[in-house]
């Protein structure tokens, strides 16, 4: 035994790493042969855990509530002993909020930026917290076994809320409602609606025709029909936004979850680590895109009509 220890100490660094890797892969191979486990099944829809009073409680809902609790806890801890010269957690949170504020103001300008900041920052923080919290141990791994015999599946207690299509849809609707609300508020009902239903030229052309000015009337009628088409396109693109918001976030997050899940079962411990890093980055990017797009649409909605 002492001989082995001496031999080990004399070995070079790379040789040691090689031996450890060889032993690990050997153990994995032996484990795979003698203790085979079936590949896990990933349920696309969120699993219902309980249904008290007929209201289904899914594991993604619990994930979202946990995010709210954690974010609330961090906010409480950061603002508990506020100081003029911040340090510790307060410093970190202030830096994060300031960075977000600069981002919002760089797109929307100073005045509008202050107005839009609460909505945009809430979306960013909630999406990124959901994405990053889902990478913690315990998510997707602690749960109850359902079914019997060979067909047993693990229903986890916690699952990232971004991987449930209802959650991105709810956020997309919130974003949509805020965009339309600010659009109506800054332009007034009729002026903002004229972006979608623009019949002024068309009726003007009709009036011209009735007055006997056929030539100019025809021209106005033609451009009126184009205006109506353009309005319809605006309406379609507004509706497609909800869809694109929803499926962009849901698709990216679910794909990431499945990727980590399958890597974990292909080569345990080792292969999943780089993908965790990738998921950290993707969570940030998706949160940035979601809040950035909401911001851009808000800016477009309050901008004067001539601009676009």
């Amino acid at each position: 035994m002492a001989g082995i220890g001496l031999c080990w100490r004399r070995m070079g660094k790379w040789r040691r790493i090689g031996i450890i890797a060889l032993i690990s892969f050997g153990l994995i191979a032996v484990g795979a042969v003698f203790f085979p486990i079936s590949m896990p099944r990933f349920e696309l829809a969120a699993e219902v855990l309980w249904s008290p009073f007929g209201i289904p409680i899914t594991n993604t809902m619990i994930g979202a509530w946990l995010t709210i609790l954690v974010m609330g806890g961090i906010a409480y801890a950061a603002t508990r002993k506020m100081r003029l010269v911040p340090h510790g957690l307060q410093n970190v949170m202030e830096a994060a909020v300031e960075m977000l504020m600069n981002f919002v103001e760089s797109i929307a300008g100073k005045e509008n930026g202050r107005k839009f900041f609460p909505v945009v920052a809430t979306i960013f923080i909630f999406v990124i917290a959901n994405a990053w919290l889902a990478l913690f141990p315990g998510f997707m791994s602690i749960g109850l076994w359902h079914g019997n015999g060979e067909e047993q599946v693990l229903v986890p207690f916690f699952r990232g809320a971004n991987t449930d299509v209802n959650f991105p849809l709810a956020l997309a609707l919130v974003s949509f409602i805020f965009v339309e609300y600010w659009g109506f508020r800054s332009h007034g009902f009729i002026r903002y609606m004229s972006k979608f239903v623009n019949v002024r030229q068309y009726f003007g052309g009709m009036g011209q025709m009735l007055r006997g000015r056929v030539r100019s009337g025809m021209g106005m009628l033609f451009s009126g029909i184009i205006d109506i088409f353009v309005g319809f396109i605006e309406m379609v693109s507004e509706m497609v936004r909800i869809m694109s918001f929803t499926f962009r976030l849901f698709g990216n997050m679910t794909a990431g979850e499945i990727l980590i899940f399958s890597m974990m079962f292909l080569i345990p411990w080792v292969a999943a680590i780089p993908f965790y890093g990738l998921e950290l980055f993707i969570g940030f990017v998706q949160a940035l895109i979601f809040c950035g797009l909401t911001l851009v649409f808000l800016v477009m909605a309050v901008a004067p009509h001539e601009e676009h």
Partner: protein, 71 residues
């Protein structure tokens, strides 16, 4: 319009094109099922969807292209 805004606006273009074409075709299929004159409305829906997709994309790209010319 700064670079952030231009880039973010263009992230929705792909979804817009897909949404318009799929929406047009589905509307056409539904109308064909209703009136039983396949494939007239499906083709019309596809054509209309393509038109909306490309004209809408052109309008979305205009501000970004205008900015490109200034620089």
């Amino acid at each position: 319009m700064n670079h952030w805004e231009a880039a973010l606006r263009l992230t929705g273009v792909g979804f817009y094109i897909g949404g318009c074409i799929v929406g047009g075709v589905y509307l056409g299929l539904w109308l064909d099922g209703k009136f039983d004159i396949s494939p007239l409305f499906t083709l019309l829906g596809l054509g209309l969807g393509l038109f909306f997709a490309f004209y809408g994309t052109y309008r979305m790209l205009l501000p970004a292209m205008g900015k490109g010319k200034e620089d």
